[in-house]
Symmetry: C2
Subunit: 239 residues, 2 copies
């Protein structure tokens, strides 16, 4: 049950919850594909394929099969993996480097900046992301997201859903689990947050994975807040 008075910080899953990675990546992929002669490139399929390789690579790190590797490097590896499949071999190194930085320029959903700005009036607002530190800083600068701090994989050198991430965030924010509200569009993330004592806010993002989304179609537990936008979280937090 929501205990509003205990909340001091609201931390946000970022890819999918705050920013629309799929559309942003599709737009940038289409643009760079055009520069090498693709008039009708399928940027959305490309974005899906890029993202699909990300979770297995994080899992390799989580499972100890490879040493700590930052999200930026994993993105680049996956980009190189799929370039041949999408006929993009003609992209030169500078174009590949710039395309990889598309993840630093993801666009927020229309309610994200306004909702986070409202929450910031009363609460600490922070990323809680598997993204790289610099990536999240650049994204915030580019999109005008007014974070108070960057909590991310690089800080604790672990990827969600590893428990180290949740425990480190709670500790850095002062050690009281209930004072931290985790806001996410993903049930697995909230489930882990709740396990470690965080309060939880589910934001439905039906467009996150395009028209064929198969996961996180609805709130799967009685999260403390269940809503359809970050403005909705602000409404329920009374700010």
């Amino acid at each position: 049950m929501l205990n509003k008075d205990a909340v001091k910080a609201v931390i946000f899953d970022t890819y999918g919850t705050v920013v629309d990675w799929r559309t942003s990546i599709a737009v940038e992929a289409n643009a760079v594909a055009q520069t090498i002669g693709f008039a009708e490139f399928d940027g959305e399929a490309f974005a899906d394929a890029w993202r699909a390789g990300y979770h297995p690579k994080m899992k390799e790190v989580r499972d100890g099969l490879r040493p700590w590797t930052t999200n930026d490097v994993l993105h680049r590896e996956r980009l190189e993996d799929i370039i041949p499949d999408f006929g993009l071999n003609d992209l030169d190194d500078a174009q590949r480097t710039d395309l990889n930085k598309a993840w630093h320029r993801l666009s927020p959903w229309s309610d994200s900046v306004s909702g986070i700005t409202r929450l910031k009036r009363k609460y600490i607002v922070s990323t809680f992301s598997n993204g790289s530190y610099g990536l999240l800083l650049n994204m915030a600068k580019n999109a005008g997201i007014p974070w108070d701090s960057i909590l991310c994989s690089d800080v604790y050198r672990a990827f969600k859903p590893a428990k180290e991430c949740y425990l480190a965030a709670i500790e850095l924010l002062g050690g009281e689990p209930e004072s931290v509200m985790l806001c996410a569009a993903h049930n697995y993330d909230l489930s882990r947050g709740r396990k470690f004592g965080m309060q939880t806010a589910y934001v439905d993002r039906p467009q996150e994975s395009g028209p064929n989304k198969t996961h996180d179609l609805k709130a799967e537990q009685d999260w403390d807040i269940i809503t359809t936008s970050i403005e909705g979280v602000a409404d329920q937090m009374g700010v």
Copy 2:
């Protein structure tokens, strides 16, 4: 020599450089002393004594004589150490806890918020402090300091001048030492930053330790910027 074009982030020593710890602590100590009957408490001497115990305690952590301990805990230990010397034994636990949180409410120098706000237009602006994560977040909220991120001892579990602090900040900010400008009122800190490739900005803070300041009376090297305020740093960075 200043290479302005390379700079992407300006990170700030905080105690002394951004905030006036001595006056802030003195005011709060005077106020709480009055509540237990001290009309003429010497808050400034108390602040000096509190601060004086902080460096030796950090050194114990740095030297491996004790395990990682956050700044908030070191402050509290030192507070308990000096309470008898200053006749404050009548402070109850809640008053001591609140007084320890005076460090979360330090006031900025008059040029700090405006200078950082100007720099934030173009650069990432972050703490680079030995303070606790939550302490720095609360301070920012209380004082209106618009940090993009909190880089501090809790993140890398080390206290400046340990090299881990400088290397971690550079890595988290993208790995290019020259892209990071360290702004500090303390020559030792800038000296370490320069050693690891950061650019350096010295801000003179003659009032940091009151009228009898004995250290950091002037720039002791040819720092890339030498000035008397954070507005001055913004001037030289052209923002």
